[in-house]
């Protein structure tokens, strides 16, 4: 599982990805290759298009009125914008965690069980119980909630809610987990827990995370992409981006002169 090869497998290959909101072009042709098993961070100032780009990978932009995506995005060599591909199946393979924790106003158990239930992944109650337990364990929440699985998910603390949402995503066995500023609504302690969890999860899943915090990107990611004004300015190993950026705009941003 943790055998890291010298040449990592590429999960997503993107060529000339453009996203339009109505007349407005939000992303101006992004070319990027995102490796499997590892954390790729998208950083950049507000409005640079990093969140928009993240939502390209599970076609969440489809749900936005007037949004259009062009270019080619290949996941395992397969075009995810193919007409014959149902976004429902894509989203089962590419899970997502949002900025604001958004557990369903249902019990903790039902939150986790919802995905497997609609996809029909289990055949019995026992199997579902097992899957819920496994998912909550992987999300590092089991110990805290095992005695109150029937209580509402919205009653948990912010950090717990965010881990519940991760468990909900894990339950449908995705290959990729997208995270859109997952720690921005959390306090430092909850953030530290979440980062430790991300560190564990990257062994199993390809994680793409958008973050405002450069320190966070530096702490948890293996590769970092810097976006600015709808362009991918620079993409490379995290140490390189933060210590020796090749582009002056990156340099200005990470040293705090812009953004």
């Amino acid at each position: 599982m943790s055998d890291k090869k010298a040449e990592p497998y590429i999960k997503f290959r993107c060529k000339d990805v453009r996203v339009h909101y109505g007349q407005n072009e939000a992303l101006h042709g992004i070319d990027i290759e995102i490796p499997d098993n590892g954390v790729t961070a998208f950083i950049g100032p507000s409005g640079c298009g990093k969140s928009t780009f993240l939502r390209v990978f599970n076609r969440m932009n489809d749900t936005i009125e007037g949004a259009r995506v062009s270019g080619s995005i290949l996941m395992d060599g397969e075009d995810i914008y193919d007409k014959n591909l149902d976004p429902v199946l894509l989203r089962a393979r590419v899970g997502m965690v949002f900025q604001k924790p958004n557990p369903f106003p249902k019990s903790i158990y039902d939150n986790v069980a919802y995905g497997p239930k609609i996809h029909g992944l289990t055949t019995s109650k026992a199997e579902m119980d097992h899957l819920v337990e496994k998912s909550l364990k992987r999300a590092g929440l089991w110990a805290e909630v095992k005695d109150r699985l029937k209580s509402p998910g919205t009653g948990l603390s912010g950090g717990q809610q965010q881990r519940l949402v991760i468990a909900r995503a894990i339950a449908v066995s995705p290959e990729v987990i997208l995270m859109d500023e997952p720690a921005s609504a959390l306090d430092p302690i909850a953030t530290a827990k979440l980062e430790a969890l991300i560190d564990e999860l990257k062994e199993r899943y390809c994680i793409v995370i958008v973050t405002h915090s450069m320190a966070q990107a530096a702490r948890i990611s293996d590769k970092t992409a810097f976006f600015h004004m709808g362009d991918l300015v620079e993409f490379g190993p995290t140490e390189m981006i933060f210590t020796n950026p090749g582009n002056s705009r990156t340099q200005d941003y990470i040293t705090g002169r812009t953004g």
Partner: protein, 453 residues
Amino acid sequence: MSQIENPETKSKKKKNRKSGKKPHKMTSLHNSEAALLRLKKRRAKEGRFILWGRLAIGFAVASLMWLLFSLVGTGYTAFTQHFITLDVKLEASILDPTDIRDPEKLRAANYRRLIQTSMQAQIEGVTDRKEKRALFNLVSASGATNYVRQKVYKNPNLVGQTLTVTVPTSDEVDQLLKGYIDRETPEARRKVSNQQIEWIDELVDRGVIKPKFNTIFFTGTDSRDPELAGIASAVVGSLMLLSVAFILAFPIGVGAAIYLDEFAPKNKWTDLIEININNLAAVPSIVFGLLGLAVFLNFFGMPRSAPLVGGMVLALRAFPTITIATRAALRSVSPSITNGALSVGASHVQAVFHHKLPLAAPGILTGTIIGMAQVLGETAPLLMIGMVAFVTEIPTSVMEPASALPVQIFLWSDSAERAWSERTSAAIIILLLVLITMNGFAIWLRNKLEKRR
């Protein structure tokens, strides 16, 4: 002006700070004379607004109270009515001279004579024909005769016996005893003669005429005689109307709202539909009645006065209300919930039905109940489709002629006799009670569902 004061205030501030005197006496940009004046003005504005608000609330409450007091004040007396207890000798010579006990013959017999005789037994010395008629007029003519007729028809063996019956007095006696007919009015302009008043007082003294709870008002149907009129057929008709309107308007209204909000493409056509649905809510209800008359009655040839047609027309009235409420409720659900569902691979329909709709349910149900309350109070469209019929039987199906509570109120309010006035108010009280109950139920339901979130 504040800028001009600036240099001075600054220097004063410094002085004060050094001397360490009470800081609130300092004059600066925000606590100079002018600033205090401005603050006072702002506070006065606020005070005026609050006063205005309280006046408005006070006016509203006062109007409501006045309405309720006047309704209850005139209406409560209708819940009791005066009844007279008579011993009716069921003489065979009058009822069944041929002595064959044929029920049909028994039915057609002269019960009026029997009642007259028993009335004369109560008051002695009434011999004159005119006086006899005046005496008979104290009792509800059709009420008493029909009551005895039904008894005998059901049980012909009663013939020959004496039956003690308690029947309503005529509405004039009732109104006189309730104090609505003024005894001081000159006899010529009074519905009850001096002699009748004498008899009535005597009968009351002897306990023959007594007030009782007016069950007839709840079990009876519409009648020409106020003392026999009740709201039962109107209530049943209204319930039928409500059911039909709900069965039609709820699925259509909610379905249209979900489709328009979630699935319809956003273009000129859907905009047009949206505007039209909103306008539909503002269309005068009588227009719906005309539509029902033209389409349902004239074109499709459906039965007149039937709750089915009335319910269909009122469904048209209620569905825009339900649609608008549903759309507002759907929009109030946070998109993050939908996103959460979509992100684990729920289809759009699943996201809406599993997550959005349950969260919107309190709003949808509240809107629906408000729509239904509108339906319950609607009168004008029912007039157009013939639901103003004089209905003396409780309808048993939605195809039979029926009345509705508001229409019944409308009809009674139009009648001349004094006794109708209190019954109109009483019927309004019942209607309002039903409406309050419905709204209370809506509030209870909303609180209950919202707690579940």
